[in-house]
Amino acid sequence: MKFAVIVFPGSNCDMDLLWAVKDILGEEAEYVRHDADSLAGFDGVLIPGGFSYGDYLRCGAIARFSTIISEVIRLADEGKPVFGTCNGFQILTEAGLLPGTLLRNESLHFICKTVQLQVVNNQTNFTSEYQLDEVIQLPVAHGEGNYYCDEATLETLKENQQIVFTYAYDNPNGSLENIAGIVNEKGNVLGMMPHPERAVESLLGSEDGLRFFKSIVKNYGKARANA
């Protein structure tokens, strides 16, 4: 499976993502610049964390107009897996690929720590290697991770089981319903504030993020076998 890791001015988790899928999982992965105009030949997209365009205006608001985004939208429409972590999640909401938005943390603090997450939906292409309601540990590092959407959107998220990860015990940012990660209705675009790519080796303090990427690869393989 060949992943594109999109690199914006100000991205800073791009190397972590490439490391996770290429060096740890042994899949193919390449950096693709924000101003490139093609994702031809890629099977999936990874949008990294960081501070694209210095978080000017709103987090992700300017990155969303990068030339590569129309290609990300094309792959998403084709049903290929698209994953955004942290700033990547913010970019996906700004681009309209995921509903809702990420507000400033309720405490106003930038939070950088390991959190406990509950896998509340393991029937997705991103989480099938986890047990339902399993509690895992992943790091977070953000100032704007407070997920918000209107009531109608929240109802839709619940009805379609689009809420995938919730903060298990302590909610670090004040997000609605303790939401940490959601998937689109079709199930192929996932955004989350925590960083699974920073938890793929025991040396890093947790290996709980590894099964996230394994799920993507495994389900892609299954889909290909059935095609």
Binding site: L57, R58, A61, F65, T93, E94, P99, G100, T101, L103, R104, N105, E106, S107, L108, Y148, C149, D150, G174
Partner: protein, 82 residues
């Protein structure tokens, strides 16, 4: 030539933690009578002649970029310079 002022603010339903923090500081200054402070964004835009009506142009810019309509609303003032 137009001078346009755009104000972007959180919707009433959205909590503004920055505004809350500033309100707390204002109270500590001794101005207990202040009941609410909400922080927004202000843009000054200069526009030469537009092919479409200027309102259409400004609203398109606001809807697509300056405001995130999921959480924010906006209003604008257009002043023509003679």
């Amino acid at each position: 030539m137009y001078n346009v002022k755009v104000y972007v603010t959180y919707k009433d339903s959205v909590l503004d933690p920055q505004g809350e923090a500033v309100k707390g500081a204002v109270h500590r200054l001794g101005f207990e009578e202040i009941s609410e402070i909400r922080i927004g964004k202000y843009f000054e835009i200069k526009v030469h002649q537009t092919a479409q009506p200027i309102e259409t142009v400004i609203e398109a810019i606001c809807d697509k970029l300056l405001a995130n309509v999921n959480m924010e609303t906006y209003r604008y003032e257009i002043m023509e310079e003679v």
